[in-house]
Each structure stands twice: as structure tokens, then as C-alpha cells.
Amino acid sequence: MHPAFSVILFTVASGIGYGMLMLLALFLPARLVPADRLFGAVTLGLALACIGGGLLSSTAHLGRPERAWRAFSQWRSSWLSREGVLAVASLGALALLALVWPILGESAMCVGTTAALAGLLAAATVGATAMIYRSLKPIAQWHNAWTMPCYLTISLASGGLWLNFVVTAVGRPHPLLPGIVAGLIVLAAFVKGRWWLHNDRTQSLSTIGTATGLGALGQVRPLDPPHTAANYIMKEMGFRIARKHAFKLRRIAGGLGVLAPVLLILAGALLPVLKPATALLAALAGTVGVLVERWLFFAEARHVAMLYYKADAA
């Protein structure tokens, strides 16, 4: 599938913002992050920038962005519509959390309850994003049980990295927090590894034989294409550059997204004076790693419609 940069940026950036909200819901009551209003303002500001920027970027993918509001209407059947509704609802919860926490400074009980609501809605939004891809039967690489855990764990890990940076920059970090974030990164790496393993071993049930119905007559080979230049289907579904370098790019994603942040967090733990710098570098490296991962998520996905154009497997 063609990796549209606006969609990659949207899923990565909003994943960070929603991941921060999910973790705040868990970490605030556990006192793993500070409860002061300055930390609240900076954290929620960053989460809002990630989610809002991501949502704006996603409209760049649309042919008619001025009609985007119509996408809230079909939540009964469409995961994309559900994602839109949930994204706005979690933005609302984020605004409420900003009101009761940094602005009004309400009780810990009130802040904790609002954070829990925002965290739940954030998790549901990331889940809906994952379901958009997971529900597409023509793309076997997406239509499997590992897609949803990938989106959730990567959102938690990348959100954790930025939360860790904010805590280090403007608050007194809890000694356990960097370790927990490193654990989330390893968990996301494990789940993504299983996704890759699953997809390396799985092939679509569909072949050029079932696509044309001619498989029973023998091997089917394309002879004359329907058109001389690439059409929309070939451009959108037939992306090949990254697939050629998939293994190299997977190593780059793993190096930047997993190895670098974990090592940097470790370095920060050993040399506390470097902590703010390593926390920032870890978050930046992790984000670039997730961008590469998300690029591959699209580029490695193969759509069965391409079977009509080429004889190799979908």
C-alpha cells in the first residue's frame, strides 16, 4: 500500500498524544508522575499538540477536507467514523482534564477521575484506528489479531517516552518511571516482532487463480495489461520501494525505536546529570523509529487487487 505521509504522521503523532493520556490515567493515581499544575499544563499541552496536529494532518489525506465533518455520521458501521467520533470525544476529555487540573487545580480525586475518562477514550480511539486496518480483508498483513496490540503498545511506548521527557524536564521524576517506560518499549518491540513474524509466515488465501476464477484451468499469467501507464489502483496498492528494503528498514526501526531509547534511558539512570538530554534524545529517536515502523506498516502491506496485475502472491 502507498504510504501516505499525512496518514503516517497522523497515526504516529496522535498515538503519542493518546499514549500520554492512557499513561496519565494509570500513573497519576499511582503517583508515578507529579500532580502539580505546571507538569499538568506542559504534559496536556504536548498531548494536545500531538493529537490536534495529527488530526489536522489526517485531513490532508482527504480529497475534500472541507467535508470532513461528515465523517462523524456513520459510526454504526464504519471504524473510520468511530475513530473520528472517539477522537473528538477524547479531545473533549483532554480539555476537561486541563480545566480541572492545571487551570482550576481541583482535588486529586477529581483530576484522577477525569484522567481515567480521558485515558479510556484515548485507548478506544487508538483501538478504533487499529480496527480501520484490522478490518480490511483484502490486506492480509493488516487483517490479523496482531494489528490491534501493535497500535496500542506502540502508542503506550511512544507516549511514555514523551511523558518521561516532560517529567524529567519540569518535575521530579519518580525513580521507577524510566524503567517502566523501557518496559513498555520492550513490550511494543515484542508485539511488533510477532506482527512481522506472523506476516512473514502468512500469505493471503487469494491468488491470481481465485481473483480471476481461472485457477482450475491451470497457472494464470498476466499477458496484456489493461492500460499502458500505472492507474490509481497500481499507484495506491502497488507500492514496492520499501518492500525491497523491508529487512534493512525493520532494523532501522528497531535501532531507533527500541535500542536507542532503551540505551539512552539506561545512560540517564547511570549519569543523572544527563537525564534531561537523554530523555529528550530517547523520545526523538523513538519517534523517528515509530515513523519508520509506520511507513513499513503501509509499504509492506499487499492488497489482493494487485493480483490482477501481477502473478505473485498478495
Binding site: 475534500r64 461528515r70 467514523s81 484451468l217 496484456d224 499502458t228
Partner: protein
């Protein structure tokens, strides 16, 4: 509404005879001609007079080689929307622009409310939907809904443009929900096929397989493989390709 209607009694669709089709592309050309001027039009063309002409078409004609040796044959294969019963291109639509009509099963796009998110084209395994980058909306076969109900036309002409133009009558139009219709009888007689049944989209259109052929032919001579006509890798992605290949 993008939830699918309960399948009605009438299921309009096409039956395409792969035994007869000669791969002349006349159906695709007349489809383009009719629909670029009809309710669905214009069907945009991009750089039509350049080296890489592209554009929106509802119907694409592939040609395949099937089988080997004396049993080998050439099969021409028109590909367009199959107006599926379980049309997931409809259910994924966030705006309600993609719809399946309860009264005749035709899958249509309401271009006035399409936001051009392209998700329906991802959900279609048959590659039947093409995005119009000029207008910013998705496009697809309408089964010539603006012809088949047009009472100003003589009844014999109330068929999709592709069916009316086929010079060898390889394309048939009718109600596949009625087991006594001509198209349903044809499908029963010739064991008409649904494409990619394993995905569960339950297409309405059926393809009639080529009939068994007699005779044979002499042994094939195999030539060397051809070089790709278009070198890969220009521009930014080409640079990235070369960088990563190093």
C-alpha cells in the same frame, strides 16, 4: 446510511462470458464515453496526450495466459464493480457517500458527500474503485443507473453501456436475484463463477468460465526474458532506493 440493506429480491448485475470475450476493450471505451458525459461524469483524464496517460475508468480489460502447453489459452478478462451483497466498500465509508441500494442492489457513490478518504478502495478486493484526484472524490461503476431506468429509451437499449456495445455479446445484464431470469439460467448452465469467494464479499456479477477446448498445438519455443521497459527509481524515492541499496 452505510449499513447494508437487507438483500432485496432484485439483484441487478452483469454476467461476463470469458469464453466469448475477445479483449477488444470496446466495453471499457463505451463505458468511459457514456459515463464521462452522463450523471457520473466527467471521468477525469490526467496527461492524456503524454507518455504516461492515466485517468478514471470504471472498467479495465486484462488479458491472461492460462495453463501450459497444448492446454494453454488466452483469456480476456473485463474487471469492474461486482455490486457485492456484502459490500465492505459501503460499510467502511465514514460519511454515507458509499451506498448499496435496497431496491436493486446497485452499489453507488454519492459524490456530493464523499470526502475522498479512499478507504472504500482499500476495502474493495477487486480494485473496482478509482480515485479522481481532480474532483477529490472516489469513482466507480454505476451499472449505468442513468440508462437502465431511462424510460425515454427504447426498452432494448435500457442496458449498461458496456453490455450494449459488446460486439460479441459476451456481456449480459439482468436480475441475478430472479432464478428464472436469462442471466440466472446462463449462470446455472455454465457454472458461473464468483471472484475471490474466500473473502466473503458475495459478489452479484458472475463470470462464465472458458469452455473446454479440443485440439492442440505444437511445442512452445521459449525466448529470453524481457528487460523491464520502465527503469525503476527516479526522484526522491529513487534516491532513497539507491541509498538503501548501497
Amino acid at each position: 446510511m452505510t449499513t447494508l440493506p437487507t438483500p432485496g429480491a432484485v439483484r441487478l448485475g452483469l454476467v461476463i462470458d470469458l469464453d466469448i470475450c475477445v479483449g477488444c476493450h470496446a466495453c471499457a471505451v463505451n463505458c468511459k464515453e457514456w459515463n464521462t458525459g452522463g450523471n457520473a461524469g466527467p471521468l477525469t483524464d490526467y496527461q492524456p496526450y503524454e507518455a504516461q496517460p492515466d485517468g478514471v475508468w470504471f472498467n479495465r480489460i486484462h488479458s491472461y495466459e492460462v495453463g501450459d502447453g497444448p492446454a494453454g489459452q488466452t483469456v480476456h478478462f473485463p474487471r469492474s464493480c461486482l455490486h457485492c451483497d456484502n459490500a465492505e466498500c459501503v460499510t467502511v465509508c465514514p460519511t454515507g457517500a458509499s451506498l448499496k441500494r435496497a431496491e436493486d442492489g446497485i452499489v453507488l457513490i454519492n459524490e456530493d458527500i464523499c470526502i475522498g478518504c479512499k478507504l472504500c478502495s482499500w476495502a474493495c478486493p477487486y480494485g473496482a474503485r478509482e480515485f479522481d484526484t481532480d474532483v477529490g472524490v472516489m469513482r466507480k461503476c454505476t451499472l449505468c443507473v442513468d440508462r437502465i431506468y431511462d424510460e425515454a429509451r427504447p426498452e432494448a437499449e435500457r442496458v449498461p453501456a458496456c453490455v450494449s456495445t459488446c460486439p460479441v455479446s459476451a456481456r449480459h445484464f439482468g436480475d441475478l436475484g430472479d432464478p428464472t431470469s436469462d442471466v440466472s439460467r446462463l449462470v446455472a448452465e455454465r457454472e458461473g463463477m464468483a471472484l475471490m469467494p474466500e473473502l466473503g464479499y458475495r459478489p452479484t456479477n458472475r463470470y462464465l468460465p472458458p469452455r473446454a477446448k479440443g485440439g492442440g498445438c505444437s511445442a512452445h519455443a521459449k525466448g529470453p526474458a524481457l528487460e523491464p521497459a520502465m527503469p525503476e527509481g527516479t526522484g526522491f524515492l529513487g534516491w532513497l532506493d539507491r541509498l538503501l541499496s548501497a
